[in-house]
Each structure stands twice: as structure tokens, then as C-alpha cells.
């Protein structure tokens, strides 16, 4: 008797929860942007849920450095969320190839993105797009405008002017000229090498030539950025070898440093912390009047877990992510993440406006190591982190670094052999 009763109760509750979930669907988003948790919870998700009653969104980020590992384990175990924030290029392509990401080519919202914007989340032949592009980030330098005024220097446009400014701060002694450290390594490559590099290898031209095997990492265009990086070390703070990424951020926002080699994603955080006026300048060119190139990196997109049980609702959300409304909300809630859509999105933040204005003056490129070249072992991106940090520390010469990277790349990448 009592067992029957228990069975009935269990059955009843199962049916009830089943019925409830038919009305209310909760979609979980996997992401590495734990910095954006509040913005998703307070701005983006409410905006979507207001229009789409019955679909709840949950944003569950993990730490950036662990994201790929965590996500892969979750996908293997079948416990990953419905929506998956996509890293550009191979990390996501591998997920698509292994059937973890669904093909989204037929999504209506895809029309709102140029082929360049989609290229980071497409198969090599461009036949399938598996993530809706969300944003790109632009590299440059953020500077302390009050400090520039105090020391009496102008915003540099050429490499010589850049080092003249650094020398002026070095002489003044009141500020650490350059806020960067080598402890975490990636800043050296991302905000160092790939920030200043496009001016040397002429953006897409050099990047594509490297992929085609027509240029090599030992060419002057690829070694020269290291030569500039080697000079940076002298302008960094005492003990920069052990200075971490958050250390550098804090040094700058506390007003103790003059120039911060940046990615535009810093804007949100810096706006809330810095009590001085900030400005931004693009990576300096070699000679006045040279063509300029910037790293405008396709950084973040969102796709659908192929194993999701709520595919229909997930597609509704993804259509919304591709809409003008989302582009406007996202670009203004997170100044520094620039929409990849073809909508003309108005932005209010002056720093973000400065960054995005370079798109009109210079040619855009993406980070050199991201497409195809980091497919093998040794991994070119990881090696570039190591080499950039080594060069800044003075532990390796620019020429040796270039030769080492080339040797590693040629060991598995046929066009370079």
C-alpha cells in the first residue's frame, strides 16, 4: 500500500515538473567572461526575458584561463550548458567538428554579419557557421591624460615619439612609464607583440602570407616587433618579472603608471576605477605618414550545444543575439567590446569611441597566431607568449625568438616547411 502510494506520488511529481518545464525553459550559458556576470544578470538577460516570457537565461561563467578545459570536460560528460560562448577559430572549430556545436548557418540573424565577422566561426571552406558573432576587441594603448599634461608630452604617433614619451616619464620619475609585467606571459604576446606587430607585417597582408607560407617568422617584419618589445623592459616598473596582469591594471588605475598597453576590453573596468582622465592612442607607426594597421580581433561569439534539449528556445535567443537591439545593449553595457554586426551602433563612451574610430583610419587585422597556425604542437600561440615574455625580460634576443618560433611552426605546418 504505502509503496504504491509512494510510487504514485513520485509519478505525480515527475509529471508536474515535466509540465512546469514545458512552460518555463531555462537556458544555461557557458562563458569565460566572469567579469561580465553583473551586466548579464542586470541588463542583458532581463531585456531578453521581458520580450520572451517562458525562457529563463542563466549565465554561468568560469575563469578565463580554465574555460576551454572546463568546457571540454563538461561537453564530454554531457553536463555543458545549452549555449556556449565561442572562442575564435580552432577551439570552436574543433567543437563543431566533434559534433558539440550545432550548425547555425540557417539562422536569419546571420545576415547581419559580414563574412569577415563570421570567418572566425566557420569551417575552413566557409560552408557552415556555428556561432553568432558577438564582439571584437581592438588593441592600442590607454594613457593617463593628467600625467601626460603634467609631464608635458604629446600623444605619440611614431615609434620614435613613443620612446621619447617613455623617456620623458623615466626622467620625470613620478610615474612608471609602462604598466606591464611578464609574470602571466599572455600580456606580453597579446598586448605587446600582437598589438604593435600589425604595423610591421602590414596587417592582413602579412598574416595571410604567413599562413600561405610566403613569409616566415624570421623575416624582418616578424622579428622587428620583438626588437621593439626588447626595449620595453627598461620602462616597466621595478620587479616587472613578477608583476601580474591584475598588478598592471591596478598600477595604472591607481595613477602610478603613465601608459598601459591595452585591449579595449579594459575600458569598462578602468572607467569604474580610474580617477584621472584617460585617453587612448593606437600602436605607433615606424615613420610619420605610414599606413597604420590595428588588431581588431574577432574575440567572442555564441553558439548552441548540439546536445541541448531546448534547441528551439536556444535558437530564439541566438536570433536575438544577432539583432540590433542586442548589439546596442552589448556595445554600451560593455564599452570596449565592439559589435561585429553591420548595424551602425551608437556608443556613448568616449574611450570606446576613440578605439573604434581607428577602424576608419587604419586597416584592421586579427591576431596573427589565431587562425590555423596554432593547430599543431608546439602551439604557436603558447610559444609566442613565452617568446614575448622572454624577449621583454632580456632572456632571449629577438632574432633567437623568431628563429625558435619558426622552427617550431615548420616542424608541423607544411606550407612553412
Amino acid at each position: 500500500m504505502s509503496i504504491k502510494k509512494l510510487g504514485a506520488t513520485l509519478l505525480a511529481t515527475t509529471i508536474l515538473t515535466g509540465a512546469a518545464s514545458a512552460q518555463e525553459v531555462t537556458l544555461t550559458i557557458e562563458s569565460w567572461r566572469n567579469d561580465d556576470l553583473l551586466l548579464w544578470q542586470d541588463v542583458i538577460i532581463p531585456a531578453f526575458e521581458a520580450e520572451n516570457p517562458g525562457i529563463n537565461i542563466e549565465f554561468t561563467p568560469s575563469a578565463p584561463a580554465e574555460y576551454n578545459a572546463v568546457l571540454n570536460s563538461k561537453l564530454d560528460a554531457g553536463s555543458a550548458g545549452d549555449l556556449i560562448t565561442c572562442r575564435p577559430f580552432d577551439a570552436s572549430l574543433a567543437l563543431y567538428d566533434s559534433g558539440n556545436l550545432a550548425d547555425l548557418s540557417d539562422l536569419d540573424a546571420m545576415e547581419n554579419f559580414s563574412s569577415v565577422a563570421q570567418s572566425a566561426w566557420q569551417t575552413d571552406d566557409g560552408s557552415a557557421t556555428f556561432c553568432v558573432p558577438m564582439a571584437s576587441v581592438i588593441h592600442g594603448f590607454i594613457y593617463n591624460a593628467d600625467a601626460f599634461e603634467e609631464v608635458g608630452v604629446e600623444v605619440p604617433t611614431t615609434v620614435d615619439e613613443f620612446f621619447a614619451v617613455l623617456d620623458a616619464f623615466e626622467e620625470d620619475g613620478g610615474y612608471i612609464p609602462l604598466a606591464m609585467g611578464t609574470n602571466d606571459q599572455w600580456e606580453a604576446a597579446t598586448m605587446g607583440y600582437n598589438n604593435i606587430g600589425p604595423n610591421y607585417w602590414r596587417g592582413e597582408e602579412g598574416r595571410l602570407a604567413l599562413i600561405a607560407g610566403e613569409q616566415s617568422l624570421t623575416d624582418e617584419a616578424w622579428v622587428a616587433p620583438y626588437r621593439q618589445l626588447a626595449r620595453w623592459g627598461a620602462y616597466m616598473g621595478r620587479g616587472f618579472e613578477a608583476q601580474t596582469y591584475p598588478d598592471s591594471q591596478n598600477l595604472f588605475t591607481l595613477g602610478r603608471a603613465a601608459i598601459y598597453p591595452a585591449g579595449s576590453w579594459e575600458i569598462t573596468g578602468f572607467n569604474g576605477l580610474a580617477e584621472f582622465e584617460m585617453g587612448a592612442f593606437r600602436p605607433p607607426v615606424q615613420n610619420a605618414g605610414d599606413d597604420c594597421f590595428i588588431s581588431d580581433h574577432t574575440d567572442i561569439a555564441i553558439g548552441m550545444n548540439a546536445a541541448t534539449e531546448n534547441a528551439e528556445e536556444a535558437r530564439i535567443f541566438l536570433e536575438w543575439v544577432g539583432s540590433e537591439e542586442f548589439a546596442t545593449i552589448y556595445a554600451n553595457a560593455l564599452p570596449g567590446f565592439f559589435s561585429l554586426s553591420s548595424f551602425d551602433v551608437p556608443m556613448e563612451d568616449p574611450l570606446a569611441q576613440e578605439f573604434v574610430s581607428w577602424r576608419g583610419e587604419c586597416e584592421s587585422s586579427i591576431r596573427s597566431t589565431y587562425q590555423i597556425l596554432s593547430r599543431g604542437t608546439p602551439n604557436l600561440e603558447n610559444d609566442t607568449w613565452n617568446a614575448s615574455a622572454q624577449v621583454i625580460r632580456g632572456a632571449e634576443t629577438p632574432e633567437d625568438a623568431g628563429a625558435r618560433l619558426q622552427e617550431g611552426l615548420a616542424s608541423w605546418y607544411e606550407p612553412q616547411q
Partner: protein, 304 residues
């Protein structure tokens, strides 16, 4: 029925431990060993025998990374053996001295870091040693040694030793407690008999206590060995998975993690990762066997 009685109570009492241990240790262990014999081609798992190990030891790059990590691991272990364990023994000897006051306070204070999380220890020491916010540079300045300060965690020559010493600081409580317990079990009669024969003070420690605690020191050594060759957390918390600067703090644990789970643009390779994990298992197994058969069997035990 009477003669061939199965001793059910033994099975019942052993079952929980055996089942849990099998499920969470033995099966994963053998699965890892098995996984290291496979690789993946076009989404399909294929058997390749020892190919992964041939790559690991034969390929120039893989083997360079492996030997670098192994060498770093040995250095990590040597620092622990030379610093942590002697200090632990010394502290235990001091603590067990009958005339020491507040022994319980010291004992607790020294043991507390052991129960802290690696993440907290790594973060706290990174802050202490930070060139920007750390108290280390200021303290050294205060005593006139400011010029000796270096960003130790950021320099290739010093970072591994620094991390090893941080780990020593964290875990010195364990040898201290084990030796302390061993020292307490030494009967007073023996020490008194020694006194009658004129063996007191330091001589009593070297000639009576030390031989009696040697088995404990052996156990501590093997625990240190296993713990160090399985280490990962502290390095990962302090230096990240790339174990910078320039892989100078890369140990087998971080090397395995990077390979198995991937890192940044590098995709994970569970098969090579398992090969490294198997190599780690073999190294630890050999080390433990050398101890068990080579050292422990020859150790003299005293019955009181």
C-alpha cells in the same frame, strides 16, 4: 556447513572501503593506463600501442618538456627533503622538550598552514613577495637589505626554489607532527637508563631518540616523495598552467594538465596526457618500491 564457514563479517566490513576505493581510484587508474595506448584520428579512437610513449620520449620537443618537468620535480623534492624534513624533526625535538612552555600554541601555529588551501597559500605568498604591493621589499628595506630584494617568483633562476620553499612553509607541520608523535612514544625508562649511563642532552637525541624515530622519518620521506611528484596545485595557483617564467617551474603535474586539458589555443590531448600520467605513475611506483624493498625491510625496529 560448519567447516567451510565463510567469514562474512570480514567481507562486510571491507566492502565499503574496497568498493569506494575501486570506484574512485583503481578503475580510473587502469583506465588512464589504458587510455595512454590510444590516440584519436578523425574523431575515432584507435589503438596505437606504445606510440604515445615513443613520442613522449623520442620526439625532441616532447622529451625536452618531459625531462625539464622531471628535473624540476626532483629539485622540488630535494628542497623538501633538505629543508622541510630536517626542520620538521628539529621542531618536533624542541616541542617534545619537557621544559618548553606554550608548546601547544607553537604546535598549532606551525601546523595551521597545512590546512590552508593551496590557492590561499599561493595568493598570499604572491602578495607578500610582490614587487609592487608586497611587504617583502618594504621589510627588507627597513633592515637595510632592500638592495637584495628580487622579484623571485618572476626570475627563471629563483622561481622554482621560491615555490618549493613556500610549499615547505605550508607543509612543515606534517613531519613535525609525525615525529612529535613518534618521540612521545619513546618510554621514559629508556631515556632514564641512558641517563644512568651518562647519555644526556644532544647525545641522547642522536644516540637514542633518532634511531627510534627512523621508521617515522622513512614514512615521511616516502610521503614527501609521493606528494611532490603528484604536486600541481601550488604551481598552478601561483604561476598558471604555463608554469613560467620560461617553464622554469613546470613540473610533471602542470605538464600533464596542459597536455591533457589543453591551454588557450592548444587543444587538449587526453591520450598524450594519459601517457604523461602513466609515466608519473611509473616514477612514483618505482620510488615507492625502492623504499619498500630497499630501505624499509632493512630498517631495524625496536620493541619496548
Amino acid at each position: 556447513m560448519g567447516n567451510s564457514r565463510i567469514k562474512w563479517h570480514i567481507i562486510v566490513f571491507l566492502a565499503p572501503a574496497v568498493l569506494v576505493y575501486t570506484a574512485i581510484m583503481i578503475i580510473p587508474l587502469f583506465n588512464t593506463l589504458r587510455l595512454s595506448l590510444f590516440t584519436e584520428v578523425d574523431q575515432e579512437r584507435i589503438y596505437v600501442g606504445l606510440q604515445n610513449f615513443r613520442t613522449l620520449f623520442g620526439d625532441e620537443r616532447w622529451s625536452a618538456s618531459f625531462w625539464n618537468a622531471l628535473g624540476n620535480n626532483f629539485w622540488f623534492f630535494i628542497i623538501h627533503m633538505l629543508v622541510q624534513n630536517p626542520i620538521g624533526i628539529l621542531l618536533a625535538a624542541i616541542l617534545s622538550h619537557p621544559s618548553l612552555r606554550f608548546a601547544a600554541v607553537y604546535r598549532t601555529a606551525i601546523f595551521i598552514p597545512t590546512i590552508l588551501s593551496f590557492v590561499i597559500v599561493g595568493f598570499a605568498w604572491k602578495l607578500i613577495l610582490s614587487p609592487i604591493w608586497g611587504i617583502a621589499p618594504d621589510m627588507m628595506d627597513a633592515v637595510g637589505l632592500g638592495s637584495l630584494y628580487q622579484p623571485w617568483l618572476g626570475l627563471e633562476e629563483t622561481s622554482l626554489t621560491t615555490l618549493a620553499l613556500i610549499s615547505v612553509w605550508q607543509f612543515v607541520g606534517i613531519p613535525m607532527m609525525l615525529i612529535y608523535a613518534a618521540l612521545l612514544t619513546i618510554p621514559d625508562e629508556i631515556l632514564e637508563a641512558g641517563e644512568c649511563d651518562g647519555v644526556t642532552g644532544l647525545a641522547a637525541f642522536w644516540k637514542i631518540k633518532l634511531p627510534l624515530i627512523l621508521p617515522s622519518i622513512g614514512i615521511i620521506s616516502i610521503l614527501t616523495f609521493v606528494g611532490n611528484f603528484n604536486a600541481f596545485d601550488l604551481i598552478y595557483a601561483a604561476q598558471g598552467a604555463l608554469a613560467g617564467p620560461n617553464f622554469s617551474t613546470d613540473i610533471l603535474g602542470t605538464f600533464m594538465y596542459r597536455t591533457f586539458f589543453g591551454f588557450q589555443l592548444q587543444l587538449g590531448d587526453p591520450y598524450m596526457g594519459s601517457a604523461i600520467a602513466s609515466a608519473m605513475f611509473a616514477i612514483i611506483l618505482i620510488g615507492v618500491c625502492i623504499y619498500l624493498f630497499g630501505i624499509q625491510t632493512r630498517m631495524r625496529r625496536y620493541q619496548f
